[in-house]
Symmetry: C2
DNA sequence: CGTTGTGTTGATATTAATCAACAAGTGTGG
DNA sequence: CCACACTTGTTGATTAATATCAACACAACG
């Protein structure tokens, strides 16, 4: 196991028995499409990587020649203004794809929140593969469409929700696990600063709102990165703007 | 020519000589992909429509069984909160597609800003067609990716830009025509209320900022819906956050 | 010619940002 | 082991940007 010193990520040999990064993704990912496709060919172009917390592996201005599939950990995607103001456009976890939204004059950055595992694909090679397997292309379109829907929901949050509503939305979003089910225990691998930049707020406002939720018995806070939802109904009401 | 009274839109017989709605779209649309495809089959499923200003033709909660291609006019896409707060997620003009971002539990509305022409496609029928023409599917993925990039840019605006920067970004975005070229004359078919809901501001703030730009000789205002950019460089500096 | 919708401008209020202090946790080196 | 710096998070006091409230101008329209 080699820790990269000059590069932001580590390229590891694929463990024997691993089929490919895409196949480790969650159930609503490319998997079903891949069943029909040549797994050997896919595995041949998938490069498994590991990225340490805080390392940036996509930087604004990079030529976007790679496509990523997150197989573990959490990645933050963000855009910057020249004076350092930052907007985190999303957090990507296991099963998420990075690099769908690449158009010619478009720039964003990606940084590991905690230790991240992902599979890297050369766009050129993936394109060749996609030509033979239109079902995979179709699946990518579905993924892009659902990302777009999420982006529009976030625009509603950023443009029209209050700080209180934003925090409630964030927590309820985090509580949502696969199949639309909810869990009461939330782990927040990102810092308050990340949350603030995701919600278009300051760290102080994030901290204050969480304290207020705690005082109102809507949540419990355990050590700043673990939260238990105590009143999901009230939070949901807040999150949907029925203040 | 029939004006709809009970329906929000008019379905018109396709004019002779018209190939199909998709083919009337601007150059960066589906057109190139369609060249390879059976135009007769595409025309057979395209339903040309006309929508009068203010008419809503996609409503939250609608089952999303149609896909649209705007061939003329301007459409506003928006999401609502229960108490009426509104976020306009985008304006779609000639060549834009509506309905890419449809996932199961996702709701948005679309309303004509001015008189709008569009082609309606049944999703089911389009899917069958796409199966035979993977190039079209590929093109749709590109479109979705560039929409996603635009959405993320808008998140940066909503989350981190000042009112002044938002207005500058809006104007510069409107000044951008095909091929990345700029025009000094901008027509704004939407109301101040629409602009405010697009930028996450109030109508008063929008009005004040435009007046200020005018006072600063950055723009000229002619009759509230036509603007001439007098200092594009200054506006661009503002828009990119180099306040 | 009043009515209505849209836009502008001014006065005031309010939310969230900024400025500031401090607490808790982490890692370092003496 | 402890002093120290450093990062992260919390809370309080104050400020500032933008929203809200209000008045009015203007055009379109019946």
């Amino acid at each position: 196991m080699v820790i990269a010193r000059t590069q932001p990520f580590v390229i590891e040999p694929m463990a024997s028995g691993t089929r490919c990064g895409l196949c480790e993704a969650r159930s609503d990912s490319l998997c079903s499409a891949i069943e029909e496709c040549d797994l050997v060919r896919l595995a041949a172009i998938a490069v498994p990587m590991r990225v340490e917390p805080g390392r940036c592996f996509i930087e604004e201005g990079d030529v976007a020649e790679h496509f990523f599939n997150v197989t573990g950990g959490t990645v933050k995607l963000f855009k910057l203004l020249p004076d350092g103001r930052r907007q985190i456009t999303g957090f990507a976890g296991r099963g998420h794809f990075l690099g769908l939204a690449v158009s010619s004059s478009y720039a964003f950055s990606a940084e590991a929140v905690d230790q991240v595992q992902l599979c890297r694909f050369s766009r050129a090679k993936l394109r060749i593969l996609l030509d033979d397997f239109p079902a995979m292309e179709k699946r990518l379109l579905e993924v892009a469409a659902s990302e777009l829907a999420a982006a529009q929901e976030q625009m509603l949050l950023l443009g029209r929700k209050t700080a209180r509503e934003r925090l409630a939305s964030f927590l309820m979003g985090r509580a949502l696990v696969a199949d639309g089910e909810m869990t009461a225990r939330i782990h927040l691998p990102m810092t308050r600063s990340d949350i603030a930049d995701y919600l278009g707020l300051t760290i102080e406002t994030v901290s204050r709102m969480l304290s207020r939720f705690k005082a109102e018995r809507l949540i419990e806070i355990h050590g700043s990165s673990d939260i238990v939802i105590r009143n999901a109904a009230a939070l949901e009401t807040l999150a949907t703007g029925m203040t």
